[in-house]
Symmetry: D2
Subunit: 210 residues, 4 copies
C-alpha cells in the first residue's frame, strides 16, 4: 500500500502514541470457537495464540492488569439483535458452549477480568473502560482475534476512551489474511501503534531495569 501510505503521511496521520508507564493487556476472544476453521477460526489465529501465551506470562510477572473477553449469548436467544441477524452463527456462543470457552493455554488467573460481550467491541456494554481506569492503565496492549472484527472494534473504542493503544502485531490473528492486513494498515494509520510482542517486552524490561 505504498501510494496509500503516502496519502496518509501527507495528511499527518500515523504519529507514534508510544508505550506509557502503566500498561494493561487485553486479550480479545481467544476462545475455542475462533481456533476452529469449521466455526469462526482459521488463518493465522493459532500462531497469534502462541505468541500471546508468552506476552501474558510477561504481563503476569510484571503485575499488569489483564482482561480477557468471551462472546456469550443467552441460551434462549433473548439477547439476539442486529449483530446476530447479520451473523446468526454467533448465537451458538453461550455460557456453557465449548466454543465460547477461553483456550486452555490462556486460562485466566485470579484477579484477571473476564468480560462477557455480545458485540464486536470489548468495550461496548461492558465495564472494561471503567475497570482499566480504576487500575490506572494509560496504555492498552491489544491481542486476540479477529484483527478485522473484534480487535478492530475494540481498538476503535480503546482510543475513544483515551487509552494509548498498541496493537501487538504477532498476537492478533484472523480467519483470512487480506482483511487482517488491511485492518492493521487502518489501525496503524489512524488509531494505534503497531508493535511486536518482542519489542514490547524489550521496552518494558528496559524500563523496569532503569
Amino acid at each position: 500500500m505504498t501510494d496509500e501510505t503516502e496519502i496518509y503521511r501527507k495528511q499527518g496521520f500515523a504519529q507514534a502514541v508510544g508505550l506509557g508507564p502503566r500498561p494493561g493487556l487485553l486479550i480479545v476472544d481467544f476462545v475455542i470457537g475462533f481456533t476452529d476453521p469449521a466455526h469462526f477460526g482459521g488463518g493465522n489465529i493459532a500462531p497469534a495464540i502462541d505468541k500471546t501465551v508468552s506476552l501474558l506470562g510477561f504481563a503476569r510477572a510484571a503485575g499488569w492488569p489483564v482482561a480477557h473477553t468471551r462472546v456469550v449469548y443467552a441460551d434462549d436467544g433473548s439477547d439476539a439483535g442486529a449483530f446476530t441477524t447479520k451473523v446468526p452463527s454467533l448465537l451458538k456462543l453461550t455460557e456453557t458452549s465449548a466454543l465460547s470457552q477461553i483456550v486452555p493455554e490462556l486460562t485466566p488467573s485470579a484477579g484477571e477480568h473476564i468480560i462477557r460481550k455480545r458485540q464486536a467491541s470489548a468495550f461496548f456494554a461492558t465495564d472494561l473502560a471503567a475497570w482499566l481506569t480504576y487500575r490506572g492503565v494509560d496504555t492498552l496492549l491489544v491481542t486476540g482475534c479477529t484483527t478485522s472484527g473484534c480487535v478492530r472494534a475494540s481498538v476503535n473504542d480503546a482510543v475513544a476512551h483515551n487509552f494509548r493503544t498498541v496493537v501487538v502485531t504477532d498476537c492478533v490473528g484472523d480467519r483470512a489474511i487480506g482483511p487482517h492486513e488491511a485492518n492493521l494498515f487502518d489501525m496503524g494509520q489512524k488509531y494505534a501503534d503497531l508493535r511486536t510482542s518482542d519489542e514490547i517486552i524489550r521496552h518494558y524490561r528496559q524500563a523496569s531495569a532503569a
Copy 2:
C-alpha cells in the same frame, strides 16, 4: 477477495439485515476539510457527496430523521487525547474553522441533528443512539466519509446499539481506494448490508406506494 468470501460464507456471515419500515439517515463528516486532498480528503469523496445530495432530498421528502456529524475540537486544545496524539492534524477542526463546516450542498435543515464529535464514531460520547431511539428509527442508512475511518467506526456502533445498519455504497468515500474497498468488505460480511442509493430509494418508494 473470492477465497475470503468463501471462508466467510462457510462460517455463516453476511446474512441480510434488510430495510426496516422506519429508516433514518446518518451523514458522517461531509465537511470541507474532508473534500480537500491537502487536508483529509481526496479519493472518491466528491462523487459520494453528489450522490448523498440526492438521497438527502429523498429523505427530507419522506420525513426521515436525519443526523449530520462534524469533527469539532476546542480552540485551546483542551479536549486533545489519544486520537489526536495519533493524528494531530485533527486539532485544526474547530467550531469556526472553515475545514469543519458541513459542505454547502448538504447544509442541515431545521430539525436535523448536528452532532459535534471528537472520535471516529458518530455514537461515541454523543446522544445519537438516544436521538434515533426517541424517533423510533429501526434502520440506519449510513453515508459519509471516510469509509475506512469514521464510517466504519459509526457502523460498528450502530450495530452494537441494535439498529439494522445499511452502508450506502455510492454515498461513502475515502481518501484512498484500497482501504475504502477493504472496509466495505468487512462491513458487508459482519455488520451491515451494502446497498446503492438507487436501490434504497426504489425500495422505499415502492413501500410507500404499497
Copy 3:
C-alpha cells in the same frame, strides 16, 4: 413538601410524559438479598414485590418486553471498584450466591432479558438501552428496589436514553421510607411520571380494547 412543590411548579417542572403505545417493563434487583433486612432489604420492599407479580403477569399476557436485573460480582473480586469501596458488602452478590438470585415469584420466563450489573443503574455497562431499542419500546415502566438507589439511577439513565419513563409507585420499595419518598419526589418532578400499577393496567387494558 408543599413549598418545594410550589418552587418546582413555578420553574416549569413535572409535566406529564404519558404512557406510550409500546411499553416495556424493567424489574430492578428484586433478588433475595434485597428482601432480607439482615442484608440489603427491609422497609416496603415485600409489598412492592407482591404488586410487581401482578404487573408482570399483565405484561406477559400483553407481550411486552421484560427485563430483570441482578447485581453480580466475580467470585474472586476481580471486578471490585469505586462502588464496592463505598459499600463492600455488595461483593457478596456473586453468580451463585443465594442473595443474588431473583425472588421465586418473579422467576424470568424464556425471552425475558436477565441483566447482570455491577453498578446502580440497570443501563450502565449493559445492553439494556440497545435491547429496548431493538424491540421498539418507547415507554419504560420501572419497578424494583431500592427506590433511592438502583431504581433512581436506572430512571436517570432511562430518561437520558430517551425512553418515556414511568415509576410504578406501588412496585418500587426501599429499606427505609424517608429516602423512598424523597426519591419519588425527585423523580416525579424531574424525570418520570409516577403511576400506580392499577392505573397502568387500566390504561393499557383500555388502549388494547380501543
Copy 4:
C-alpha cells in the same frame, strides 16, 4: 434521619472512599439560569458558588484538571427528548442564551474542559470519563447544582466510571433545601464521601507539603 442511618450502617454502607493522590474538579451547571429563582435557581446555590470560587482557585494553583458543564440545547429544538418533555423550560438553555452562560466568577481558564450536555449527568453522551482518564484522575471532587438533580446524576455516573467520588458539601446547592439534604444523605450512604471544601483544601495542602 437517625433511624435510617442505623439501617444503612447495619447493612454495611457508607465506608470512606478517601481522597486519592490525583484529584480532578467537576463544576456542574453553575450557569446564570441556575442562580435565578425566576428560572432554575434559588435556595442555597449562591453561597455554594462563593465557596466554589475558592476551591477553583486552589485547584488551579495545584494544577488539577478542571471540567465545567453547561446545559445546551439546539436553537431549533432538534435535540428535544424525554427529559425536555418532563421539563420543557430546559429548552431555553441554548448556546447563546444568557441563562446557559457560566457565572462570571467561575469563568473557565484555557485548558479547562467545557462540557455541553443535554441530560442531568455530566457523563451522559459526553467525553468526561475519557477526559479524566487521559489525565490520570483517580478522585473526582464534585461541586455545582442542583444537588438533587445534575449533581446527583453526575455522582452516580462518576462512581460507575470508577472514580473515587467526593461531594463537596458546601459547594453544591439546590433550589429547595429538602431535596438538597435528602440527596446528600443518599450520596453519602451509597456513592460518595461528603467533605467540606476546607477539609479538602487542608488535606491536599498537607499532602503536597509532605
